[in-house]
Amino acid sequence: MKLFEYQAKEQFIKAGIPIPEGQVASTVEEAVQGAERIGSPVVVKAQLLQGGRGKAGLIRKANTLEEVRKAAEGIFQAGKGVRKVLVEQAVPFKRELYLSITLEPANAKALVMASSEGGVEIEQVAAEQPEKILQYTVDLSSGILPFHSRSIAYDLGLEGEGSKRFAAVLEGLWKVFRTCDAELAEINPLFLTDGQALIAGDGKLSIDDNSLFRHPEFEPGPDYFESPIAYEAYKEGIPYLQFDGDISLMCAGAGLTTTVYDLIHYEGGTVANYLEFGGPNYRKGLRAMELCLANNPKVVLIVSFGTIARADVMAQGIVEAIQKLNPSCPIVACIRGTGEEEAQKILKDAGIEPLFDTEEAVRIAVRYTREFSDAPATQPAGDPSPSRGGSL
């Protein structure tokens, strides 16, 4: 789970990492008041989870309160769904450094990266001058030792006071990384001022989803999600991805769903959403179908080949959902694995043709998006015949 910049910086403060004086604002008025308190010049920054805010014009410098007002208005009205801005003192800096901590799966250690060439072009630096990216692997249980900080500081060209301050920032970021169960803790840019001070200009913090049970403080609100349906699914505990195509996928497992996604695209189809019907969700047929239908798809495609997720339970849930929700689009079901004979019977009894081949199911689903795109309310013909809510 990604956090907003202002949330990351709340963690930075706790860990003793210096940040610019700032104020979170939900309205233009609040932004102006914040700037008044902080003193000009300031930077007004959209609080969005996506990267590339600067290039999208969602980070604006303002020298006067009037400019702050305009900047905040512009950002709130940019149509990007910005709900908060961070108004921050514009820090006069000498250099922009880069510092991050992630995990290195192969070595099973943490990876600290740093560069003296921080800022928005860091990825280009990495591609063109990889020697400018310092990399250190750090054992999770030993943690950051003095030599790590010292080695990186010297290679960043920091000495004396700057080196000591860097050690404090790195130890602070490590503390954030560990205590927040982060998969990423990143400061870019890390401002170096003329006075050898180090100040976190930006903050990216991504919390490992599997550790969120330890961090109720990061409970996400609706603004974390791509759509209201995605937020609904989150509240149900159902993994969900929003797309904007025709076929609503109610599939079991990321690997199989990704494969179905590929096969749909091979056939020229498009995907409306992916809703995880596997794992503990296989008993939630009705709610799952409801969420899928909220996308108003041209077809709902159900694919699974389960072991624990019992095919018969899934089939039963689908049949009940169709009876209750009476969907206006076709339902294509390819449900195999444990309990598949019983599932087959349940589907057939309900007038739905059970399919056994993933690729065939995809072809049929894509065909329906074409055949019925202009006549969603009529009974589809053809064999094998998918069920439609209307036919029950």
Partner: protein
């Protein structure tokens, strides 16, 4: 012979009295696995399917010999259970837990590397040698999916496992051993680390790997092939050819991956190393026949 598990492997089941633990213990025995004992704190004295249960791994190992541990333990207790098994000298561990905290997964893998142990998982169905033994959860009773044979399989994806093995069987083959390394970002064991075992296994003629976008495990397989560590035919299926990029891990993710991690880069690396890459599951059988020089039957 087989890879990782066979009829001689003596398996200890941690978390045996839970609903998954007891259900799959029954089936592990059903296929022929030697399950010697179970562990659930507080349940010593009980039995599951006639298998005695102990409070702790140490207590179980005072009464039984075991060389592998199968964990049906919730994700947040997995680190503790893995360390308990390692502490008692067990060097083969499979954990199915889906949702192990990432930094704990890193510590599990580090402990495995430091102690020369192999931890398979989490977020996997486990390991199966069809017709012989399994540690994990596979519907081996569905014959069109789990026919014994000569194709080794490694997969990151649980949901694709049945799909792909069914295609292997439909292609006229069967499976020697299937190892689900698991779908987590930091699996305990990586594809390339299992390749020497499949190379050495006389029952394995070729290997199918089931990969996905993200990470570098598939690229490491290509390296192992180019380095001569693995010389048997290899067929790969990779999910995510048309998928949008996954969530980006800040700049750090981009810097570290350095262009690796996309399905495109994986396919290029594997094909350069001589692997056959299937664009859809139904082509796997055909590619296996080509790879094994049997033409299209």
């Amino acid at each position: 012979m087989s890879v990782f598990i066979d009829r001689n492997t003596r398996v200890l089941v941690q978390g045996i009295t839970g609903s998954e633990g007891s259900f799959w213990t029954k089936h592990m025995r059903g296929i022929g696995t030697q399950v010697v004992a179970g562990v659930t704190p507080g349940k010593e004295g009980q039995e599951v399917e006639g298998i005695p249960v102990y409070h702790t791994v140490r207590r179980a190992l005072r009464e039984h010999e075991a060389d592998a541990a199968m964990l049906f333990v919730p994700p947040r207790f997995t680190l503790d259970a893995v360390f308990e098994a390692l502490d008692s000298g067990i060097r083969k561990i499979v954990t199915i837990a889906d949702g192990i905290p990432l930094q704990e997964a890193v510590q599990i893998r580090r402990a495995a590397l430091s102690s020369g142990a192999r931890v398979i998982g989490g977020n996997t169905s486990g390991v199966i040698t069809p017709g012989k033994a399994m540690m994990g959860m596979f519907p081996y009773w569905i014959e069109r999916v789990y026919k014994p044979g000569t194709i080794g399989v490694m997969t990151r994806s649980g949901s694709l496992t049945n799909e792909i093995t069914a295609m292997i069987v439909r292609g006229g083959f069967g499976v020697s051993t299937l190892v689900g390394v698991g779908g987590d970002a930091v699996p305990g064991t990586r594809f390339a680390e299992m390749l020497p075992d499949f190379q050495a296994d006389p029952d394995t003629e070729a290997v199918v790997i089931i990969g996905e976008l993200g990470g570098t495990m598939e690229e490491e397989v290509a390296e192992a092939m180019e380095g001569g560590v693995f010389t048997k035919p290899l067929v790969a299926f990779l999910a995510g050819r048309t998928a949008p990029e996954g969530k980006r891990m800040g700049h750090a993710g981009a810097i570290v991956s350095g262009g690796k991690g996309t399905v495109k880069s994986k396919i290029a690396a594997l094909e350069r190393a001589g692997a056959y890459v299937a664009d859809r599951p139904s082509r796997i059988g055909e590619l296996l026949r080509t790879a094994l020089g049997r033409g299209t039957v």
